[in-house]
Amino acid sequence: MASTDDKVILKSSEGECFEVDMAVASHLQIVKSVLEDCEGSSDKVVSLFIVEAKYVAMIIEYYKNYVELKEKHEEGGFEEKLKEFEKQFLEQIDKKELKGLVMAVNYLNAPALFDVVCTAIAKHIENKSVEYVREYFGIVNDFTAEEEAQIREEHRWAYDGVNDD
């Protein structure tokens, strides 16, 4: 496959290093622009200061499969195969970790995965109670009792179809 020239090293917040193909890393806009900025330099290490290793690993796994599937299914069927993989990919991620992952993906500016993770979070919280959603995101309720009652009144269409979770 590709020679070592086509590899780049991504360094997580803990200092752990991941060697990745350029084809994979170029999906991360931030890595791409950093590499373009220091073109010609032999040092191909990109520090992702705020991203934990576990998230770096997840993101690399996603884009590695993304690139492979795209190569394999050039004539068509790529989208279906990718959907299949995405489902499998999301199953192995803890619901709590989705938040960290979306932050990491947002920071690395990787649009395809960003949509996938946002959809996964949306799916997870959509039928949960308000209390659950607050707890999940660590949000403090900043409404007064009157304000809350007013919003409830304004939106009678917000019926209760909530799961206990």
Binding site: I9, S13, E14, G15, E16, C17, F18, E19, V20, V45, F49, I50, V51, E52, A53, K54, Y55, A57, M58, I60, E61, K64, K96, E97, K99, G100, V102, M103, A104, N106, F114, D115, C118, T119, A122, K123, I125, E126, N127, S129, V130, V133, R134, F137, G138, I139, V140, N141, D142, F143, E148, I151, R152, H155, W157, A158, Y159, D160, G161, V162
Partner: protein, 364 residues
Amino acid sequence: MVKRTYGKTEIASSSENTKRMNSDEMPYLPEAVIFNILIMIPAHFLGSMRLVCKLWADLIKQPFFALLHHQHARPGLFVQNKQFPYSARFLEPSRDGEFGVTYLAPRYPGLMFSSVKGLSLLSDPCNKLIYAINPFTMQGVKVHQPVICPSRDHSSCGLVYKNGVYTLVWGFQDAELAAHFCVLRLGIDDDWRKIETTIPYYGIYMQTHPISIGGGFLCWAMARHRETVIMDTNDESFHILRIPRGRTTPLAFLKKGEYLCTVTENLAVYLIHILKDVRRRKWIRYHRFDFARTREFMFTAYLKFIGWTSDEQELTMLACKANDTLTCLAYNIKTRKIRCVDGYMNSGENVQVHANTLISSSYG
């Protein structure tokens, strides 16, 4: 420096404690991320999301949010009883494509006959009213039918969305059967404005409501004439287009994405044509659907087509069986498989393709 190639085992081994981005310590996600999560949530769950905190309530309230949210909304089927339209059930596809049912009971003032970009037209013929409302938030306006229109018979109404404005178009036939048209821009005009152009006697078929397609066009189906009258709402001109020849006249005129589509039949083989370009009058043969090869064929007396759902990939239809029961089926053009959406429809029900959104007529 430790060089490591990526491997699955490392996910487990990398849980060191020197984390700068620990999910437990992270109080808030950036606003942009929250926004992108919220636009993925179906409209009927957004009500409770507004109660989470002020920031979320503010995000959801923005018209810009409603517009973006609409792009992710998945069209479902809005079902009302023709005799008792006050309540409705909404068959909404989930992400996996399975339809779930929501019961809605806000006392609808009439039957839904059209739904364009989240806004629906409900007809109340007794009071000569048309309601242009969002059937989910119940926000919207009521409009009297044009005074010059003699009766509700031989008249029809359509809705067009373009550049942030919803326009109502009313078409009717006079005693000489010439067709006249009036327009009213929601939130801008106070009353109907009659268009000078008329279509002289043509035997035009004004009983079916027009279909709104992309680019600001409205299409009146005239199945008997194998033609369609298309109004270009940009310059208020009218064009008469021949529709592709099948052995029979089209069974249905439907909106597929931004295009008009027709369904014709010959011996249980259905042909789907799409009007690719209105100005060049270009139709393409889009799909051939051999119903006789499906399991459902044996029990079905006839099909009535409703519209396209599930990313425009499924053609939903009502199958009337020999014993007079109705089943709602969905045919997937990619997998060529047919599935049952609802086994208990009845002939007194009115079905419309509709997407639940937060859009209101005043948003521009």
